[in-house]
């Protein structure tokens, strides 16, 4: 048996398909197709959680996504513990395990409930007022304690083992909401042949047809019609039907985010199934058919378990076959709750009484209820509910006062009326308008190509809804480019009446200070709190909201916003539109981080770029460092070596014999065209026109402001062809910078740029033996110093494959950079390596490269410069063409501040104690005895231990640095002051003789 309150013959689930589940460790039976909420109710369980602030016992309020109370933790295994799952949305599967949240030690006995007794302390604004001082205590004491006590579930402490996927989709008509309106709109659009996507957050389509027993369309029961229509739509090639899919955000230009819950309802989801799928849909037209949400009545103790929305109770009965009680009371201010009374009565449940706030309600449903023998108390209010862990009675009083009467009940089904779901419309930047007659906000001014239909548009009645939706669907399709429709509009044969209802606090909601008549269940906001906020000076609904936190919980006030607004308006004595409605923001319901992140985790978090030679370095045991998205070999430790030892060995090896270095990540741009040199003249500080083909030059690129932007060696391959290199990290932005000027400032130049970074693998061979290693492998290039001097380039072959061979050096040694087509990179490296072994060559990584270049005073843009360094500051005036009429940065460089005296200049630093290695970034002062804060005159940009120099070396930016040669300066550090001497930037081979050594 799947629960004592399951009524045989009622509902649409097959009794045969039992599913076992547990709640707080207790085992229960449900049926496949149940939600966790319906299965609990079938077992008579209403108490499912404790409230956020007062720890009051709470039950299931709704049967859908608006649920504020029934938040549970679903536990699949140690890594899959999902908190804050709405029991009304979670579908049951065999073996499901759920726990209640926010209670200790148990749900029925919760120590935190003392907050309820102390509630005068916890009134609106309590947290703001009480925990303001001392400020530091908020983070260390108050917040953790409050969070612990409130405890909205427990986060899993392991990585999420599930995967999430994403999909971009395009359609002509996107229909959001799959009730009668959404289905009718989708049918109309789909029949024209345009691309349609129809999404609904429920597992089954139908919306209110799930509970409306009186709806008939095309001769069928409403829900059956919906299923038939969905089957038809699903079979059409131009339609995508997405159940269990919530439209959570409506963004610019009809870009809508949907989350499809793919496998949360499955007992054992396969590994191939994502848990959720993020749909990013671009639609030509959007039809909003998001329906309406029933409001509760605001009266004392309206939060007792067993007090729920009338339509929810009806859904549990008509769809799930579950009676929410055996002896129910109804409290309403509109017609729709009568349907619940009638259906329950017909199913054999005792309906103790209907309490109707209206004075003299009339109409067919009232007559039908009366005919069934249900007692109707009109003009009366329920002023409080009795019971604690479960409602036990309702106390009724004439709404203008008078004698009380207490009626025993085990459930109260309430309905204050229906609030159109304008959330997505509001997110689309549409402006809502208040309809004074019907007392509701409905879509007013549209900001995007969308249309609202049915209940979310304030349209009452099924026939009117279907008419409106079908016409809107057809129109949307037409606007999206469809030809004529050929379908037939569904015909509504019977429907139910939805009349208006009331907003705000009912007579049982105070105004005395002890009554707890809840407006917002999830954040524990009462009618009294809203009134108090107004009394304390809040005037705008935005302030009332923040002061009371009304509507600020994860349910975003789906059931509470209108009540809160009405109470505030009444207290202020202003009409509702003047107080205003708060803005609805995405997401409509909470979205998992998994869905947002989607594929972008693990190896797909960010591209990891590897060079063609990477596998060789990996096999050699290289340690890699991240340089942007690249993995670069940092150093190659041999057995027993730490980083320090490995780098020392590599540095010495390069200078004594030779070293091989993978320089493939350097940015490379081929500049081609008759105006190539002219373009280079404009983009670099250096002169290029006279550079001979076959020669290279170190180039500096500035921004217009005169600061160094990038640098690199440029080879001229032909009069109209340059091979430009950039820094590794700068490659994309340098290309963008060059394209920008070429396309928008110098479009008259006949020249084009092509990124060839990845076309060429680059092997730097540096050191006195470098030529000996390369020469035997080269064809077609004269390797003599006369034919191939330092800073030249030749095209030829190496190891039988094409090469662009540069003679250049970033170490100060005789050096080459061998460019070969990338797919040959590793094989050529291996041949060079084998050849190198004959000469004692070493492989070196980026750390040794940094040390070697620092020994020579070669700068690294972005390390020794920081975007405020001019060529002069860096000691690179020699690279600026003095006779040039123009280049990018020429004017910026001449700004008064950039030519002023005392600018920070790049210099070398030598510590007085040669063994002390400075910290990069350390500040430099003139007088270490001055009071703190000291006047800082510069900082260390590069600092290393140099085994070749037998001492530490450093580069630094120091104010007026070049005028301080030989001066002693100080670097104050936490454990003492370090004395340094200002020196030149070249620490090794000052004459540069080794370039040809």
């Amino acid at each position: 048996m799947s629960g004592a309150l399951r009524i045989p013959g009622a509902g649409r689930l097959s009794q045969a398909k039992t599913a076992r589940f547990s709640f707080d460790g207790q085992s229960y039976a449900g049926i496949e197709g149940d939600t966790l909420a319906s299965a609990l109710l079938a077992n008579g369980v209403h108490l499912v959680g404790r409230s956020f602030k007062y720890h009051r016992p709470r039950g299931i309020l709704s049967a859908g996504a608006e649920e504020p109370n029934a938040l549970v933790q679903i536990v699949r295994d140690d890594a899959r513990k999902t908190p804050n799952v709405r029991a009304t949305v979670q579908e049951l599967y065999d073996g499901l395990a759920a726990n209640s949240q926010n209670r200790w030690p148990s749900l029925s006995f919760d120590v935190g409930a003392v907050n309820d007794l102390a509630s005068p302390l916890f009134s609106a604004g309590f947290y703001y007022k009480t925990f303001m001082w001392p400020k530091a205590a908020w983070k260390s004491l108050y917040e953790p304690k409050i969070r612990e006590a409130a405890g909205l579930g427990v986060s899993p402490d392991r990585p999420d083992p599930d995967h999430y996927s994403s999909r971009y989709a395009h359609c002509d008509v996107l229909v959001l909401g799959g009730g009668a309106a959404g289905i009718a709109a989708a049918l109309a659009a789909a029949e024209t042949g345009v691309r349609v996507i129809l999404a609904d957050e429920q597992a089954e389509f139908g919306g209110s047809l799930r509970f409306e027993s009186g709806a008939k369309i095309d001769g069928k029961d409403g829900f059956a019609w919906a299923q038939a229509a969905i089957a038809r739509l699903g079979a059409m090639d131009n339609v995508r039907v997405l159940p269990r899919t919530t439209a959570f955000g409506y963004y610019a230009q009809n870009f809508v985010g949907l989350v499809e819950r793919v496998s949360d309802h499955l007992k054992a989801p396969g590994h191939d199934l994502p848990r959720e799928r993020l749909w990013q849909v671009r639609a030509k037209r959007v039809v909003l058919a998001s329906g309406a949400i029933e409001r509760h009545m605001v009266f004392a103790n309206n939060d007792r378990p067993g007090v729920m929305l009338a339509a929810a109770a009806r859904t549990f009965l008509n769809h799930y076959g579950v009676a929410v009680g055996k002896n129910v009371g109804i409290y309403t201010a509109n017609d729709s709750a009568y349907g619940a009374a009638i259906d329950l009565k017909k199913a054999g449940v005792n309906v103790a009484a209907i309490v109707d706030l209206r004075d003299n309600p009339t109409g067919p449903v009232i007559d039908e209820a009366r005919a069934l023998g249900i007692e109707i108390n009109s003009g009366r209010a329920v002023i409080r509910a009795g019971g604690k862990l479960r409602v036990s009675s309702m106390t009724v009083q004439p709404k203008n006062g008078g004698g009380e009467r207490t009626i025993p009940v085990d459930a109260i089904l309430m309905s204050a009326g229906w609030t159109p779901s304008v959330h997505l419309f509001s997110q689309s930047r549409g402006k809502v308008a208040f309809n004074d007659e019907t007392k509701r906000f409905v879509p007013g001014t549209y900001a995007q190509d969308c249309v609202s239909v049915g209940a979310c548009n304030g349209t009452d009645g099924l026939a009117a809804t279907v008419d409106e939706a079908y016409a809107a669907g057809a129109r949307a399709a037409k606007d999206a480019g469809a030809k004529a429709a050929k379908g037939v509009k569904p015909k509504v044969d019977a429907s139910e009446s939805w009349s208006r209802g009331m907003l705000g606090a009912a007579p049982g909601a105070g105004p005395d200070t002890t009554v707890k008549a809840f407006v917002d269940f999830q954040n524990d906001v009462t009618a009294k709190d809203i009134r108090q906020a107004v009394h304390e000076g809040m005037r705008s609904i935005e302030h009332v909201k923040r002061f009371t936190t009304n509507g600020m919980a994860t349910d975003q006030g789906k059931t509470s916003n209108m009540h809160g607004l009405a109470i505030a308006a009444e207290t202020l004595g202003k009409p509702i539109p003047e107080v205003g409605l708060t803005t609805f923001r995405a997401p409509y319901t909470p979205v998992t981080f998994g869905a947002i992140v989607s594929h972008a985790r693990g190896p797909l978090f960010d591209p990891t770029r590897r060079t063609a030679i990477h596998p060789w370095a990996e096999a050699q045991g290289a340690v890699f460092e991240d340089v942007g998205q690249w993995k670069r070999a940092w150093y190659f430790p041999q057995a027993g070596e730490d980083m320090h030892a490995a780098v020392d060995r590599e540095c010495v090896g390069v200078r004594n014999q030779a070293g091989l270095f993978d320089a493939s990540t350097l940015g490379k741009i081929e500049v081609v065209g008759p105006d190539a040199a002219k373009f280079m003249e404009l983009l670099y500080t250096n002169p290029w026109e006279k550079l001979e083909p076959g020669r290279c030059r170190y180039g500096i690129m500035l921004r217009e402001d005169g600061f160094i932007y990038d640098d690199g060696v440029v080879g001229r391959l032909a009069p109209d062809r340059f091979h430009v290199t950039t820094t590794t990290g700068g490659a994309p932005r340098v290309m963008n910078h060059m394209e920008d000027y070429l396309q928008t400032e110098f479009p008259h130049l006949n020249v084009w740029l092509t990124s060839i970074t990845e076309q060429w693998a680059v092997i730097a061979v540096q050191g006195p033996k470098s030529r000996d290693i390369i020469a035997p492998l080269v064809e077609g290039i004269d390797m003599s110093d006369e034919a191939l001097p330092h800073m030249s380039v030749r095209e030829g072959k190496i190891c039988g494959v094409p090469t662009r061979l540069f003679r250049m050096s970033f170490t100060g040694e005789r050096g080459f950079e061998v460019n070969v087509p990338a797919d040959y990179g590793q094989a050529v490296w291996e041949v060079l390596w084998a050849e190198g072994q004959k000469h004692g060559a070493t492989a070196y990584g980026t750390e040794a490269m940094h040390v070697l270049r620092a020994e020579k005073g070669y700068i690294i843009v972005g390390q020794d410069t920081d975007g405020t360094v001019t060529p002069n500051d860096a000691g690179l005036d020699w690279a600026v063409g003095k006779k040039k009429a123009d280049f990018v940065g020429i004017r910026g460089m001449a700004r008064p501040d950039l030519v002023a005296k005392g600018r920070k200049q790049l210099v070398g630093l030598k510590t007085k104690d040669p063994k002390v290695v400075l910290e990069e970034g350390a500040q430099i002062v003139e007088d270490p005895k001055q009071a703190i804060p000291m006047k800082m005159i510069g900082h260390v940009t590069s600092s290393y231990w140099s085994q070749n120099c037998g001492r530490s070396i450093a580069l630094a930016l120091v104010a007026g640095g070049r005028d301080r040669m030989g001066d002693t300066l100080y670097v104050p550090m936490p454990d003492g002051v370090i004395e340094v001497e200002v020196a030149g930037m070249v620490f090794f081979d000052e004459t540069g003789g080794r370039l040809n050594g």
């Binding site: 972008a600 797909l604 084009w752 092509t754 494959v801 797919d823 040959y824 094989a827």
Partner: protein
């Protein structure tokens, strides 16, 4: 530089082995197959309008002038990437760089055979697999057979070419190929579901 060649003692060493990235990688899922294609010859071709006829003639394929289109002939495909930019891919072993070298009309032709990796995505779910990370509308109406575009896949740039109703060629830079292939594999797995 031919002169310089004469001066060196050319030792006829065997050619270094070519090791293409991801060679042979394949992933199959229901309705979609993702596989790395063999190396091809490629150039990035840039030219003003006035040179298009001469270059088309030399290349043996008419360079397309319409955005998002391509032209194909005898194993050679020219993809419109921008108003003065084409990606020319030759799968028949004839180097388009050599063809362009003979053209005197103004242009820039740069060899990028090794810069790009090609991945084919085929099958009824190919479109969905690519849409896992590509924000363009890939329906046949918006992206018909022969359509070509530089675009985005996740966090990488790709060039996308539709070769048949249910077949795409995805080109990306060499160092992004592992990311792109892995992304497409995940997309394929999801598209199959």
């Amino acid at each position: 530089m031919a002169k310089a060649a004469a001066k060196t003692a050319a030792t006829a060493s065997p050619s270094a082995e070519r090791r293409p990235a991801l060679a042979g990688r394949t992933v199959s899922a229901t309705g979609v197959k993702v596989e790395v294609l063999p190396p091809a010859l490629r150039i990035s071709l840039r030219a003003p309008e006035a040179s298009v006829a001469a270059l088309s003639k030399a290349l043996g394929v008419t360079l397309p002038k319409q955005p998002k289109t391509s032209a194909s002939k005898a194993g050679r495909t020219a993809l419109w990437l921008g108003p003065d930019e084409w990606l020319v891919i030759d799968e028949a072993g004839k180097d388009p760089l050599a063809n362009c070298a003979k053209v005197s009309a103004l242009h820039s032709s740069v060899g990028i055979s090794h810069r790009n990796i090609a991945i084919s995505v085929t099958g009824p779910a190919a479109e969905a697999a690519i849409n896992s990370g590509c924000p363009q509308d890939l329906s046949l109406e918006a992206f018909p057979v022969g359509a070509a575009s530089r675009t985005i896949l996740g966090k990488a740039e790709i060039v996308l070419l539709r070769t048949a109703d249910e077949a795409f060629r995805v080109e990306c830079w060499r160092s992004f190929s592992d990311y792109v292939f892995t992304f497409l594999s995940e997309g394929a797995r999801d598209a199959a579901g």
